[in-house]
């Protein structure tokens, strides 16, 4: 049984690789353009393709082939494996957390529901749910690197990145920030976010929000944390005035620790948070800011 992992130079790929090694078979990897530093891999195939073109990448995977093809649960991972499933005639299961024999465990509802499914047909293509498997490095010999030019069909490069626009404003992005402080309906208004912004900037973090806030027009969709917004994995996630709807919690599952600030001691979010402060966020957040300043001053 062969296992082939699509890798990009990111943390989610290392998580996917860790998952793949856990399947108990020798693991090969495929990278595109440049080799990626990895451990515990037998052969690293490097496909000569210029830039990201999902169908071409899928073609490369299909050409190398394997019984089980694995990728990270990232946008690229899902997209490439879906194409590869069609090319290989295989079955694709997204956001997988475990594979035992022909039974796959995968996530639905952004992680709030777990599905056990039987995967029929071959090959099996799996993307690994982000932040469920901790990335582990493996010792051992470096892989044998084999560079190749995949035989692409007409149209394989029809969809490719034509241009990259740089829109970063220099600050930390929501997806990468170590601390994220989100506000929900409980914040009450656009101005109500000011104390959250103060605390965020003090901690080198970023402000996020729930979907209700976006629809109310208080903050842009780019600040939205959730299943259909940005999925984040900060060290600390503070959710202020957020009730804890599953769609929102799906966006912050990857957070190491979650602190909820809510006036309602029975809010749903308390079942998904590590810590809670019961109170009015308009009072609590400034109090925390003051306490942080005090702690730093001393």
């Amino acid at each position: 049984m062969s296992v082939l992992v699509l890798v990009e130079p990111d943390d989610l790929s290392r998580q996917a690789l860790t998952f793949a090694r856990g399947l108990g078979e020798p693991v090969d990897a495929l990278a595109v353009g440049e080799p990626v530093e990895l451990g515990g891999v037998r052969t690293l195939h490097v496909a000569e393709i210029d830039g990201y073109a999902p169908l071409a990448w899928a073609r490369a995977l299909a050409e190398v082939g394997a019984d089980t093809i694995v990728a990270a649960g990232s946008d690229h991972g899902h997209e490439v494996l879906a194409h590869a499933a069609v090319l290989t005639g295989g079955t694709f299961a997204a956001n997988v957390t475990a594979l035992e024999g022909d039974t796959v465990t995968r996530l639905r509802w952004g992680g709030s529901v777990v599905e056990e499914a039987r995967i029929h047909g071959a090959p099996r293509l799996l993307t690994v749910a982000p932040h469920v498997i901790a990335a582990e490095d493996a010792d051992g010999a470096a892989p044998e690197v084999r560079t190749f030019t995949p035989a692409l069909a007409d149209g394989d490069l029809a969809v490719r990145v034509a241009e990259h626009l740089d829109t970063s404003t220099g600050g930390v992005s929501l997806a990468d920030a170590p601390v994220v402080i989100s506000g929900g309906r409980g914040v009450g208004s656009e101005e109500g976010f000011t104390p959250l912004e103060e605390l965020a900037s003090l901690l080198g973090g970023v402000v996020g929000c729930s979907r209700a806030v976006t629809i109310a027009g208080w903050r842009p969709h780019t600040d939205q944390v959730g299943q259909t917004g940005t999925k984040i994995a900060p060290d600390l996630y503070i959710a202020a005035g957020i009730s804890g709807a599953t769609q929102h919690m799906a966006g912050c599952k990857g957070a190491k620790r979650v602190l909820a600030i809510n006036a309602d001691p029975d809010a749903a979010i308390l079942a998904s948070a590590d810590y809670a402060v019961i109170g009015d966020l308009a009072e609590v957040v400034p109090a925390i800011t003051a306490e942080v300043r005090r702690a730093r001053g001393s």
């Binding site: 208004s189 209700a212 109310a216 027009g217 009015d280």
Partner: protein, 621 residues
Amino acid sequence: MIGAIALVAALAVSAAVFARRVSLLVRLLRMGRPTGIDRTDDVPRRLEQEAVVVLGQRKLLHRLLPGLMHAFIFWAFIVLFPAIPMAMIAMVDPDAAPHWGWYEALANVFAVLALVGVAIALVIRKLVRPRRFEGSHLGEADLILAWIAAIVATLLLWHATEAPAWAWAHVLLILGFLAYLPHSKHLHIVTAAINVYFGRTRSRGRLEPLRFDEDVPEEEMRFGIGTVQDLTWKQMMDAFSCTECGRCQDACPAWATGKVLSPKLVIMGVRDHLYEEGPKALAGDYDGPLVAGRDSLEEMAWDCVTCGACVEACPVNIEQVDHILDLRRHLVMVESRFPAEAEPMLRDVERQANPWGKPQGERAAWAEGLGVRVLEPGDPAPEVLYWVGCAASFDERAQESARAVAKLLSAAGVDFAILGPREACNGDPARRIGNEYVFQAYAEQNIATLDDAGVRKIVASCPHCFNTLANEYGDFGGAYEVVHHTELLAELVRDGRLAPAPGEQTITYHDSCYLARHNDVRESPRELAAAVGTPVEMERNRERTFCCGAGGSHMWMEERGRAINEERVRQATETGAETLAVACPFCSVMLDDGVRSSGAQMRVADVATLLSEAVDGDRAD
């Protein structure tokens, strides 16, 4: 001879000018759309309103000095009326004019009273200068006062000197006034009586429904006030009757807290738009601007909390809330233009059956452990259905009162049940923000649920639910006996089924707008407060209550200017009471917020909670 010619000529000119204008006004009224409720029923009460409000000048006499001023002039007009034909006869043939000494004496007294009235009016307008006149056209009023003074002065002079010249002057001034009348706000002397007759006599909280039936062609459907062609005839009558007196402006909690909204300015805006655009619309093929596009009508519409203080204050029973709501309806339902922060609430009401967006499955969670019967389909109907409402179901502060009500009803042995997850929002948040369509969908759904369950009697602990169930569901086929929880609890106390221990705490009771003003429920909550403590009244109480700020869907909208709830809390603290009692979950949240933000030392609690503690003997913290 000259006199006769002059009289005929003056009459002809005056009548022509008068008739031409009145013809326009009548044509405008006929263009007016029909109203959504029957305004011809309940004749005895309509006549009662005429007697009390028009003849008795009751609303005006709330303020003594302006009330007397107006009453003097009003009664003078009536008493002096016969003097007009007498003066006309004197114009033609001075000797033929009748001279009844007793009448002339009476007329002189009232003429002097009228002059006193004008003098008072001038003192008020020029020296006192009350704020309610901000925005009013004072110049026009001055002209009218001068004219009235001249009319009665010429009469007095005629009676004193018997010189025909004064009779001429009197007649000409009156005929001139007649011609001027329908071009000015003095039109109210004709329209006010009519407007009062057609106003709501009861169920003042019942909005006029719109019809979205399949068989109505879209072009004929009314979605509120878009252009001048969408005004109902009653709204036009309201506009014709406004005297810019500003009593509504004074009563409005939004205006009092520095917001843009003045109900007076809304009616004036509608009136000005009607006079300007109405004739164009009558000419045919009209594609004119929105009424809401005028001045700051759109902005003003969003400040309204639908408390009805303006309607209560208006001496000619103008129904300002209808105008504001109809402006909102068009903005929400046709233009999709409304404060963005209200969109999550509307989406939640529409898709999840409650404005909190919480799962309906958890609607009965507040009742855990209380042994409350949840009515399942097929269960026998209870004697009373307790309609809990979304606020008490999902807001942690409001849940306290629901628990108190449930405990009290159980203690009194009342056979009651709740619908639990099958209780959908009654639709008031959607209706008050202007989304009549979503409201009606929920009205129909809830009525089907209630009728299937065989419910006859409902007790509601939220005045908004109470108002909608009692007054508005009837328009959609739902007919139930609906009481507010304070009414039911007061009855149980009177019957001895609940025995609260009297207490010492000083309690000031805050009247909810939807109870005290829209529905005349004022005394039952006071009975309960008196049974458990020592009551003390705020200055603005009963039908003059000051809103908590949550009405008109403001629970879900941002507030500009100063906070209405803080203003009400300030009024409450002036009484020195320890406890601020309420009978509404919105009032309880808003006033509790107000107490916290102002640092006042007061406990805010529902009367049901206070009663429950007095019946239990201990205080639930």
